[in-house]
């Protein structure tokens, strides 16, 4: 039987009906992980994954009620903790760190019957948009070895694109799920901030960090989000608002839906070679009964610096826990201060150090009001305006990226040019709303181009319905 590119639904059906064993399926993915090892998408295959798969097979043979994701083999980003396994955030400082407990999302997925096969490559501590900041080497694009996979969840996106798994977990602070999803031609959902517990996710910028899912179909990511979403007493930023039944909300109809596009974004899109791809999607939606209107967001161009001010400030505080004493590796001798300095200087990567330095700059007493407080105020203004647009419209359409995946090494020496790549994804984290990226075409280099669909807080169901309709309908 051909096990290539199965959907989550199909996997569960095959496992339940015992047509395919979980061990057989896991071995299929392990073969692909090995086949594409030069992509550097997977940092480690967990040595007990076939043992777990065998346990699932026994459970199936025993009969009785089976959990919703029984036998689905998945991969997880290297910043999500799975008890007893190495979790390094692609950093030298945590190279030998073993998770003391499992993240809430991991426990929920294990309870739902998944097999966690391994951990995927990423930018160190999720700081980056190309997966070139990994201490263990860059992850290459699924479709072109000379191009970036995107980041920070590059490994998860490439793994899904090349069938090393059907679905993978990622995290998204400023686009880290959606941007690599776009660059590799897969689907990536970043849920509403507070929809999925962050307990057990290594922090980068805590007020923006979210865990989400990458997969090949809208149903796949919706099914997994269904399992991991919800209130968690371990994370007080999670919300108790009910989790919708996502699959039942995919109606196969977009007639009468209101779609907004942002004038300032549209002006940027029109300067690129990709405008026709987005226009095709908009025309398709209009043809099928959706109403498209243009709205203005003059603050749009200020969102990128706002994001970086907040993210770097929070990053510098979060990174202060790496002291070489409580966990992770240690270097240096002598005084306490010398151990701090030597450990951090030797074991943290360039981009992480840059963000720590800038975070300390914007938080310093002299500049705190000028940068940090101002950025929080702008974030607040943008949140209010976007929320208003989403009160009047069901969804907003935006490109996910400024174009196709760029060449490896082409932006590493110029951090600002790298940050500008995030211009379409960071506003969503600032506002806290959910957004998906779906592949809608190919650019002039033959590489995938993604569309972002966002909706109001906790309205993931609207996004899934629209995304599914477009993904199935647009050629």
């Amino acid at each position: 039987m051909d096990l290539g590119y199965l959907s989550v639904e199909k996997i569960v059906e095959l496992i339940r009906s015992r047509e395919v064993s979980c061990v057989e399926l896991t071995k299929h993915y392990l073969r692909n992980i090995d086949k594409y090892k030069d992509k550097n998408a997977v940092l480690e295959v967990f040595d007990d994954c076939l043992v777990r798969a065998n346990e699932i097979d026994k459970l199936v043979l025993a009969g009785g009620e089976l959990p919703s994701l029984v036998g689905v083999p998945i991969l997880i980003k290297d910043n999500i903790m799975y008890k007893g396994k190495i979790c390094s955030s692609a950093s030298k400082i945590l190279e030998n760190y073993r998770a003391e407990y499992s993240a809430t999302v991991i426990q929920k997925l294990l309870d739902a019957g998944v097999v966690i096969m391994g951990r995927t490559n990423m930018d160190e501590f999720a700081m980056g948009g190309s997966c070139e900041n990994s201490a263990f080497g860059p992850c290459k694009n699924a479709h072109d070895d000379s191009r970036v996979s995107g980041g920070s969840s590059g490994g998860s996106a490439v793994a899904v694109a090349l069938d090393m798994c059907a679905v993978a977990l990622g995290s998204d602070t400023g686009g880290s799920i959606r941007q690599p999803a776009s660059y590799n031609g897969v689907v990536g959902i970043k849920a509403t901030y507070g929809r999925v517990s962050r307990y057990g996710l290594m922090s980068y910028a805590s007020s923006l960090d979210t865990i989400g899912v990458l997969g090949r179909g809208v149903n796949d990511v919706a099914t997994v989000l269904q399992v991991i979403a919800g209130k968690d007493p371990h994370d007080h930023s999670t919300d108790s608002v009910d989790v919708d039944d996502y699959l039942s909300c995919i109606s196969g109809n977009i007639s009468g839906k209101k779609i907004a596009i942002i004038k300032e974004v549209q002006a940027l899109v029109e300067k690129t070679n990709y405008a026709h791809i987005y226009q095709k999607v908009i025309s398709f939606c209009q043809k099928h009964g959706a109403i498209v209107t243009e709205t203005s967001l003059p603050e749009y161009e200020k969102v990128l610096p706002t994001y970086y001010t907040i993210a770097m400030a929070e990053a510098s505080s979060n990174m202060s826990r790496f002291d070489g004493m409580r966990f992770g590796k240690t270097c240096g001798e002598g005084t306490l201060d010398n151990v701090y300095r030597t450990t951090r200087s030797k074991l943290l990567g360039k981009e992480v150090k840059r963000r720590i330095m800038l975070g300390n700059y914007v938080l310093s007493s002299k500049y705190y009001d000028e940068y940090y407080v101002r950025a929080r105020n702008i974030a607040s203004m943008v949140r209010e305006k976007v929320s208003r647009v989403l009160e009047e419209n069901d969804v907003i359409f935006m490109p996910t990226t400024y174009g196709e995946a760029f060449e490896l090494g082409s932006k590493t020496s110029d951090p600002v040019s790298m940050y500008i790549e995030d211009m379409f994804t960071v506003p969503i984290n600032i506002v806290g709303v959910p957004a998906i990226s779906i592949p809608v075409g190919r650019g002039s280099h033959g590489l995938p181009i993604g569309l972002q669909i966002l909706s109001k807080h906790f309205n993931e169901k609207e996004i899934f319905n629209m995304a599914d309709y477009i993904l199935k309908g647009v050629e």
Partner: protein, 96 residues
């Protein structure tokens, strides 16, 4: 607000606050990079924000009851400590 240029001294001050050491070559490179990034962040200064409250951040205030729950065992908590002994982390001598 009057802003000072980013100099090697600024980088040294920030490195000290950040508990990071850099070579002179790295500091020179950082001076240029940090200046460029700050220039990008300065675009925020063009936005009029007086009268705006930043209280509506992403955080929801939904605290759980203050009851004792399960937590990590001491053994688990020390699993990753480079040095630990008798339930304490091992650190360099701080009191002479």
């Amino acid at each position: 607000m009057e802003k000072e240029n980013i100099t090697i001294e600024t980088i040294e001050k920030l490195a000290d606050l950040s508990r990071l050491d850099f070579s002179m070559e790295e500091k020179e490179k950082l001076t240029i990079e940090v200046s460029g990034i700050i220039e990008m962040l300065d675009k925020c200064a063009e936005v009029e924000t007086s009268g705006v409250s930043s209280l509506s951040c992403n955080m929801v205030e939904d605290l759980r009851e203050d009851v004792v729950g399960k937590s990590l065992s001491q053994e688990d908590a020390f699993l990753n400590a480079p040095i630990s002994k008798n339930g304490y982390y091992g650190v360099p001598r701080v009191v002479e």
